[in-house]
């Protein structure tokens, strides 16, 4: 029985360096694991950051991009300030998550992926986040029945916030937004076009 060795390449590292936000830092990781020990959601990461970095160097493209590990980042920056090599780990994780999402490889239905998508869609619609519509979209992301359940579950909090004037039911009619909506939309479209061209995403 003979087994053919897979030739070692660092193609995936090069891809990450080129296409992932702050990806050029990955090779600087020295595998100390302080990031893993500093993460508030540490135990929830199947592959903590230092492992992700080594997997990138080992060419494990699919394992990295389909992982839900980087979706556990809460953006607390604890890993960033403690990293002895000063890697911007939070941004690399965001960058990897974005890259996996845009390539369609990120786990389907991953809750933070869905939340992030809904948040962005809400903000680009008017230039400012509509908290009411964002919350409702979140409740109903898994279908109508689950949505009603979620909304009922949270109704005491919802009414409490309305009473405290921190949730406005009238936001459903449109709510806050920037005046120059066409300018804002053109700006975002242009930014996305440039980024897509650079990173090889299809529009």
């Amino acid at each position: 029985m003979s087994q053919q060795a897979i030739p070692y390449t660092n193609d995936f590292l090069r891809e990450v360096e080129k296409n992932v936000e702050e990806g050029h830092w990955v090779k600087m990781c020295m595998q100390c694991g302080v990031c893993a020990g500093s993460c508030p959601l540490g135990p929830a990461w199947e592959h903590p950051p230092q492992e992700i970095f080594m997997m990138i160097r080992a060419g494990k493209r699919e394992e990295v991009l389909t992982s839900d590990s980087m979706w556990m980042c809460t953006s607390c920056y604890n890993c960033v300030v403690r990293c002895p090599r000063q890697l911007p780990i939070t941004h690399i994780m965001h960058g990897l998550a974005n890259y996996a999402h845009r390539l369609g490889l990120a786990p389907k239905g991953q809750p933070t992926r869905e939340t992030a998508r809904l948040f962005w869609n809400s903000l680009v619609k008017t230039g400012r986040v509509n908290e009411l519509k964002f919350s409702l979209a979140l409740y109903f992301k898994d279908g109508f029945v689950q949505g009603v359940k979620n909304a009922l579950n949270m109704q005491a909090i919802g009414f409490g916030l309305m009473k405290a004037k921190r949730l406005n039911p009238l936001e459903i009619l449109g709510g806050h937004g920037v005046k120059d909506q066409s300018g804002l939309k053109a700006m975002i479209a242009k930014a996305r076009e440039i980024e897509d061209r650079k990173k090889g995403f299809s529009a």
């Binding site: 920056y77 992926r113 948040f119 916030l161 005046k179 804002l184």
Partner: protein
């Protein structure tokens, strides 16, 4: 005291009817007492927050914050930008650092901004409101207007993440920043030492990973109780919302009896400066800060 003026970036959560609307109410009252003028940047937009990355990517996010700078530069030249939201401040600061240090990103960001008829020049700095208080005014100046010191009230200063890391306030340590404790003491309150001062509340994952975030929140509130605090005080609108709102959920699931008010520093200051409960936005809480409300009636 010399009058100070800033270009103000309130952020989405501070708008009328939004989750931190009472933060803005108290900031306005506080600034009034301190003779600080904050003028809203015309037509500002959302910064993308810390959850915008997945769909927004890099350049669209850079463009969002750059648009705010460009508007401030155009309409309020020479004025520093001040943000009250931790995420707004952090996004603006990060974006400025990123595009000021990369000719390529600067060029591309301006190409996107041109589609909105705007240009980023890089002449405006961004500050967090607590930086304005501590660095521009100083603790002594903040003490002067105190007419109703918050004597005998014990606060857990909950700094959280994004005003603290990665930039920090006033060069303080990331592990044990003390500015919030000092602000509490400046207005006559007592700041208790406790071990969850810089623990993450889960941030935006409070929506997507409720169990994991609520564990964080429970740790924070329980530690505040264990160390004798009556109230929590924070500089961040998402920390405030998460830590206050989900206490009832945690109680439902775990049989705990968490019921600790979570305030903004600006509310403490407004009350100590003699403001009314309404001016301090004390009517904007699910868990009422009754002892502060009582002080306003004295």
């Amino acid at each position: 005291m010399a009058k100070k003026e800033y270009a103000f970036y309130p952020g989405c959560s501070s708008q009328k009817g939004a989750s931190a609307s009472n933060y803005l109410t108290s900031v306005n009252a506080m600034c009034d007492k301190l003779d600080v003028t904050i003028t809203e940047i015309p037509d500002w937009n959302c910064c993308g927050a810390s959850i915008g990355y997945a769909e927004g990517g890099e350049l669209p996010r850079l463009a969002l914050s750059a648009r705010n700078f460009a508007l401030a530069e155009k309409h309020m030249p020479g004025k520093e930008m001040v943000a009250t939201c931790a995420a707004c401040w952090l996004a603006q600061r990060e974006v400025k650092e990123r595009i000021d240090h990369s000719e390529i990103l600067l060029k591309e960001t301006n190409e996107a901004l041109a589609a909105a008829g705007l240009q980023y020049q890089g002449t405006t700095a961004v500050r967090h409101m607590v930086e304005v208080l501590i660095e521009d005014l100083g603790y002594d100046a903040l003490k002067q207007p105190v007419v109703k010191p918050l004597e005998g009230i014990k606060f857990a200063g909950y700094v959280g993440c994004q005003t603290n890391r990665p930039f920090g306030i006033d060069g303080e340590s990331f592990e044990n920043p003390v500015y919030l404790d000092k602000l509490v003491e400046t207005v006559g309150g007592e700041a208790v030492p406790y071990d969850q001062k810089v623990t993450c509340c889960g941030g935006a994952l409070a929506f997507s990973e409720p169990e994991k975030s609520q564990k964080q929140i429970r740790d924070i509130v329980e530690s505040a109780y264990d160390h004798g605090a009556e109230m929590i005080v924070t500089p961040c609108p998402l920390c405030q919302a998460n830590v206050e709102i989900y206490q009832s959920e945690i109680n439902k699931k775990h049989g705990t009896k968490l019921n600790m008010p979570v305030l903004y520093y600006s509310q403490l200051m407004t009350v100590a400066y003699g403001g009314t409960a309404k001016e301090a936005g004390l009517d904007g809480h699910l868990i009422r800060a009754t002892r502060l409300e009582e002080i306003t009636k004295k």
